[in-house]
Symmetry: C2
Subunit: 392 residues, 2 copies
């Protein structure tokens, strides 16, 4: 059994309650898993010199919509310049996604997955939701399954144009044929529980059907205003409720008393000029939180978890350490996985080597790509061509 | 004379009033200069296929403090978490910078210059200001001169600890021995005209001495509150006044009636949780504006012009096009150069190939490194290893 050693780590963030943060460390990897954390200078068959850099667990991005076609850059720029949000926005994406071939969708998702790897994301969740027909949702789930084990069926993303004014009918399709077609490719079901999308009753119906089909539960909730999303998620034992921007006291109390993770998506608030969630209130109440990119073509087209962390610290008053934990261990908890998000013996060797002496640089250096190398299950999947030249 | 052709450009932004933006273009480069803009399919000895991507003039970063030593990442994170701004902050940098060898300073600046190239910055200004003694300022100017012709002598950055309470005495040193030592390495002189730094009279004295020594004038002004910086800059014919966050009507009128450029540094406002300048008011009044990174270890440690543009659009209400112009042509005007910042025949072939179909993606995709290739004077200085694989 050959060992890879990442040696000469200036600062190792393990996310392990015993180990904590370790200075001058070496990470020993065998068979794709962490074998041990040792002092710098450890022996191995293969050696990657971190040059005093900071090493963190790879980011776990627990909320993405990575599979879609079509470009909305100019629409976005127009909206920023004051044009009203085009209700047809998402339709541009569903039309293009339905029209794309499977090969095109795979290629587009692969390019985005590659970009996310370069941003240090070693594991991610991917939602469907830009098909909104039985066949196209099934195809999206099956494309997503080529990239992750954490596929989420999100037929209940919005009511598609074909069902305008007939949301209940669409919900029946989602719960019926669409779920049956998608469930074999998915681990999770999700619903957008928000005014203008699906109400509490419709959302509960979707989640119940998903649970019956063996899927775990996730909810988009409380993004645009107060609503029932968070409490429904907690009541039904969802793994995560995402956005959590508009919370009432009862929502915060419910989260704190549950193991439902509150997932913040700050790049969305940035790109939609929304207010940011009050992360301090949620954290201080004792809830578990995650930070994710929500990479999608409408409201948050970024794979940069570093950018999300900079916002979480600047605008949501999380500490740099809280933000890092939320984007690694928090993401893992939101996906109910214990193999990722930390670097203790036995964990999957998912690692990001930062081109910086400390993870604080993720916040200190906004917009700068700081990931010198990314390993997934012990394999180097990204290595910056300047690694070694750039300063730590 | 051999020609390089960047062919198959989906969208070329020329910044030339006649040419404007051109679809399906080819850029013909000879002897490091733009020879012509033609239709896609042009002939050349060497060919770079842009694959339908967007090509823009390289960014002109007209405000950086790139030469310094020492790390302040953890201090930054602590400040973000609520620790008061340490007055000693800049001292950490001046102490480390004075203690560093010339070779160390060159290596640190080279790594940052490399990072800026990867961010699409093809030309930049570099200020001294972390030495604050005759010898150390001279060394900083001479190190900066290894990287740019636009070196700015900023001995009047702050009053150093050794002169606490004796600002006038320090100003005499700046105007005297320090200026004499630095002027041979510099093109510009700059002063931080702000409460707590240098007042109007001291600032005028510094600028007058610089002008007598043959240097062009720049001013840091109106960053932390209203003050005389902008009007002094205009009165003295400075090329640029930088920050411009707190402006009174008279400041805006003065800018509009002058050829002094108002340079915004939004990443600084981000990293210090300051309010953003009212760019619309300045633009709508008819002043020329620039956007720059202000890359420095205290208040804005980024080389990402893309990040600055995202802020300029989201938080300063500039359009994507205005922001792009400000970071290219605006930067060139702030440095009074007509060879850079545009891509018409005769211009220096400073080019950024974006991994995107439109420059709107610089704003649409915050935090994502979008520069597939950077050329300076027609030479490829950065080429992303995934260029060709990533989608346009």
């Amino acid at each position: 059994m050959s060992a890879l050693v990442i040696d000469n780590i200036g600062l190792l963030v393990s996310n392990d309650p015993e180990l904590g943060q370790v200075r001058d460390a070496a990470l020993v990897i065998e068979d794709g898993r962490v074998a041990a954390v040792e002092r710098a200078g450890a022996q191995g068959d293969e050696r990657l010199d971190a040059g005093g850099r900071c090493v963190i667990p790879g980011f776990v991005d627990s909320h993405t919509h990575l599979v879609f076609a079509g470009d909305r850059g100019d629409e976005f720029a127009a909206r920023m310049a004051g044009a009203p949000y085009a209700a047809g926005g998402i339709r541009v994406t569903t039309d293009a996604t339905r029209a794309a071939t499977r090969e095109e969708l795979v290629a587009l998702a692969a390019a985005r997955r590659r970009e996310a790897l370069r941003a240090g994301i070693t594991h991610l969740e991917i939602k469907s939701g830009y098909g909104l027909t039985v066949e196209s949702e099934k195809r999206l789930c099956s494309v997503a399954a080529e990239f992750t084990g954490d596929v989420t069926f999100l037929g209940a993303h919005v009511v598609p144009a074909e069902y305008e004014g007939r949301a209940d009918e669409y919900v029946e399709v989602v719960r019926g044929d669409m779920l049956a077609a998608c469930a074999p490719h998915a681990r999770w079901i999700d619903v957008f529980c928000e005014k203008g999308a699906f109400d509490e009753e419709q959302s509960r119906a979707v989640l119940e059907a998903g649970r019956s089909a063996g899927l775990g539960l996730r909810v988009h909730g409380n993004q645009l205003g107060p609503g029932p999303g968070v409490r429904l998620a907690v009541e039904m034992g969802a793994a995560s409720v995402d956005h959590c921007t508009y919370l009432e006291d009862a929502d915060v109390e419910a989260l704190a008393a549950s193991d439902t993770v509150a997932t913040f998506l700050p790049a969305t608030d940035f790109s939609t000029r929304q207010r940011y969630p009050d992360a301090r209130r949620v954290i201080d109440a004792g809830a578990t939180v995650a930070v994710a990119t929500n990479c999608n073509p409408g409201s948050s087209y970024t794979t940069s978890m570093g950018f999300c962390l900079a916002l979480a610290v600047r605008d949501m008053r999380m500490t740099a350490e809280e933000a890092l934990t939320a984007a690694t261990l928090g993401g893992a908890r939101a996906l109910r996985r214990d193999d990722v998000g930390h670097l203790a013996a036995g964990a999957r060797a998912d690692v990001a080597v930062l081109d910086a002496p400390s993870y604080s640089h993720l916040v200190y250096r906004p917009g700068v790509p700081l990931v010198a190398a990314t390993l997934v299950a012990g394999r180097v999947e990204w290595r910056d061509p300047d690694f070694g030249f750039r300063s730590a």
